[in-house]
Symmetry: C2
Subunit: 506 residues, 2 copies
């Protein structure tokens, strides 16, 4: 068969497989929203039948031979064919390099560990889960050996979430970020000690009204509710099922407005990206986002860069007050300060924009050491707490608020955490580059989100994964991920809110 024919046939196979696999998005959405409880057993079987099917297609002799033949074609650098083949080869290699037996063992161990972790967390008892985690780390190390790496085992796992990223690059970005963050945190703490602390926004905010406000917010920004939905779940998420169907969920607390609003803006950022991905590539590898960090850059951009900016609330605070008149007790500045509260805390998902990255850096240092064999799992509770004290100046009162807080490691997710902070890095960098084309403050302040969204679509969304993550950032902003912009952005924020002279503005 000639190369072109093989390519076409391969892509048809891949598209059909992906149309089928796309139902997983719906299965997961349904499971977390409306599925009756007793469906859970067979829902699991549906999902594993789909995984087995995908595995059998990718590892079939026909697939291998089509891929190998297609790869002999001479497609121009950066062409759709070239990029599709690049991503298919990557998926293929990551699938076949790890023996099926090891993959199954890993899935089983991860499922088991996750269950035990929940109990260990509930009971605040590390001893329950550490032996399981030890096995899991050792299996992940085996996987890394099979996948292969140039300089350290951790790279093989990191690459699974962030194609092309190396631990040494993460280290470089993170060491600068850590130093600068700690400096800024010192400033914040000084200001706080001098009394510069926001007044918490408290009250009773009926859930039905919150829902209405969230929908109003989503519509105003440009999330098409004919191509998405907003539902309620304990853990907010976004899921792209197919083009024209990217759904989000959020949560509401009747005594707190902020958590829900920023959850919705975060998930909306993911959804706007999902809706901006090239529809005509759907089903092909180039039709997806190239990495988790790129995806996270979009959610953080809307949640933080736009959503916590003064201009944003200049537009929306009057509406928010119309929905919740008790907010007439809070000036715009008081509300803004509360939305930009910065202070050390124990739990990552409750952290502010500045200290959030410290939570990630801590996790990166630990998981890298675990996977590279430079640290024993037994030492984890101790290492976590001492590192935490060193960075945040406080010690977690329980392990539940310490090394047991996140599900990631206990479900086998090593190498995932850095993508969150890379998302922040890229979001700030996008904001900086966008400013060259758009007066962002002015656009936001006049409620013109279309201009901003168009920019993101043009520079990021429409490319799918026609570029590797780093190259996508380069082509969108002119340089690879550079933490300088995040630090400038955070410095500006700290100056805006934590300079005592500013107090008079309240």
């Amino acid at each position: 068969m000639d190369h072109r024919k093989a390519y076409d046939k391969l892509l048809e196979k891949v598209r059909n497989l992906n149309y089928i696999l796309s139902v997983r998005g719906l299965l997961v959405w349904d499971q977390r929203t409306y599925m009756p409880r007793k469906a859970v057993k067979f829902r699991g079987r549906q999902l594993s039948a789909l995984s087995e099917y995908a595995h059998s297609v990718i590892t079939s002799p026909e697939f291998t031979s089509l891929l190998e033949t297609a790869e002999k074609g001479d497609y121009p650098e950066g062409s759709r064919e070239r990029m599709n083949l690049f991503w298919l080869r990557r998926t293929y290699d990551r699938t076949v390099k790890v023996p099926l037996k090891l993959q199954l063992k890993l899935v089983q161990k991860a499922t088991e560990t996750e269950v035990v972790w929940r109990e260990a967390k509930d009971r605040n008892d590390p001893s329950l889960v550490l032996p399981h985690l030890k096995d899991l780390v050792s299996l992940k190390r085996e996987v890394a050996e099979h996948l292969g790496y140039e300089s350290e085992p951790y790279d093989a796992l990191l690459d699974g979430y962030e194609p092309g990223l190396r631990a040494s690059e993460v280290e470089e970005v993170f060491s600068y970020l850590k130093r600068e963050t700690l400096k800024l945190l010192t400033k914040v703490m000084e200001a706080r000690e001098s009394g510069r602390v926001p007044r918490p926004v408290r009250g009773h905010f009926p859930i039905e009204d919150q829902k209405k406000f969230h929908l109003f917010l989503l519509r105003s920004i440009g999330y098409d509710l004919n191509a998405g939905r907003l539902d309620e779940t304990t853990h907010p998420f976004a899921v792209r099922i197919v083009p024209g169907d990217v759904r989000i969920t959020t949560r509401y607390h009747s005594n707190d407005l902020l958590d829900g609003i920023f959850s919705t803006l975060h998930e909306m950022g993911h959804a706007l990206y999902g809706l901006g991905l090239p529809e005509e590539y759907f089903g092909e590898p180039v039709g997806n986002a190239p990495s988790l960090a790129i995806h996270e850059s979009q959610s953080r951009f809307w949640e933080n860069v736009i959503g916590r900016s003064p201009e944003f609330w200049e537009v929306f605070y009057p509406f928010l007050r119309a929905f919740f008149p008790s907010l007439y007790d809070y000036s715009l500045e008081e509300f803004l300060f509360a939305a930009n509260d910065i202070k050390p805390s124990f739990v990552r998902i409750e952290a502010d924009e500045l200290t959030y990255n410290l939570h990630i850096i801590l996790r990166f240092e630990i998981e890298r050491a675990l996977i590279n064999g430079n640290m024993e799992v037994e030492a984890l509770p101790e290492v976590w707490n001492s590192k935490f004290k060193e960075m945040f100046g406080i010690t977690p009162p329980t392990h539940r608020e310490g090394f047991l807080q996140d599900i990631h490691w206990y479900s086998g997710g090593f190498g995932y955490f850095p993508t969150y902070t890379f998302g922040n890095v890229i979001a700030a960098q996008i904001r900086h580059r966008m400013e060259e084309d758009i007066d962002v403050r002015k656009a936001v302040g006049s409620g013109d989100f279309g201009t901003i969204l168009d920019w993101l679509r043009e520079r990021i969304h429409r490319h799918g994964s026609m570029y590797l993550p780093k190259d996508l950032v380069r082509q969108a902003t002119g340089e690879p991920p550079n933490p300088h912009y995040l630090v400038s952005y955070l410095r500006e924020k700290v100056e805006r809110f934590y300079t005592p002279t500013h107090r008079s503005a309240i």
Copy 2:
């Protein structure tokens, strides 16, 4: 390979395929309930990718050879293996006998005709759709030739919905039923003319309260809302996604309680059956219902036999009045009479229990003639109206209320209609047989639905398709489908409500 090994391997393949295909239930449910509008294009691709996948598995050389080898095994009559192989052979034959090209042509023509039908119905213009229907009938006739039959082409299509049923048997059942129904209808019309007409139950019934009442009804009867849901759609339906997940929908009108209640009871009947099918057979052919008529017998049983009985409303009318106090204006007897109103009408889905079967008999006579080549499509409007006049004594004022009312033919569904009336026949027969074991009136009147449901589970549900439809009816009731019980049941109903002397009870 030995027979047993082939069988086991075949069944594993089939189970995995069916776990994947079971997501279609969710795709359809979602499409009709919560799916954002713009998902529709790719939802279609997901569904066709699944169909193509199923087709490719069933027609693969491996499947053929496993089936042929497994069939050489000597499995006892009525064993799970024997029945699985019977159903697999049937599916296989129905799949491979019709050339793929013809199948695709048919799907395309049906899709096209359905679209044109909607317009023809809206505009009340037969000329738009008749040429398309003519092509469709001719394609269905071709399909029948490929499938093969003993005595007439129509049998080949009927068998697709009701395995083993022949047109001659339908004719026998229907000619008796028609004669008896017309006699009863004459009695009803005489009573109506003498003034025995129910007072319509009118009022304003808030939708939110209706929802609450429906949920109360479902819970009281024993539909497990942890294994199902109740949502709202224009066209009510039930869908079994997996064991432990059988969902229903209904509709509400703020000025009418009855339509919604009986829709919910109907779909609940389907759902209770779906939840009673043997979980341990899920994914195997024997895990399904054996036919549409059997399924319909369960929905009609709950909707009509139980749901329109005086005893049922002796239990629930007090609650209904508590939800809707304006009903204190209507005596129980008035309410019951309204729920059992019998009169000729043009539209099948609005018909009462008695005349409903006349609607079906009309359709059977026509579709049988069309498929057997005994009638031209061009004659359809004329034949419909004259037959209708003959049976119902009235002529449809428009084709919209005449031969254009139902989607079935225009989407290629010929041979489907008889299953509805066979459902009624079987429901009444079940009621009769059940009486030998249970005092049904007493059970219903004391709200003891568990006893009734257990009987259905034991006699019908738990068998899946371990029997052919006719044999299932035989083993549950002692004889094959016999319209005598339906006629007795209807006669009793007519006597109960349309005997003038009874009026004093109001």
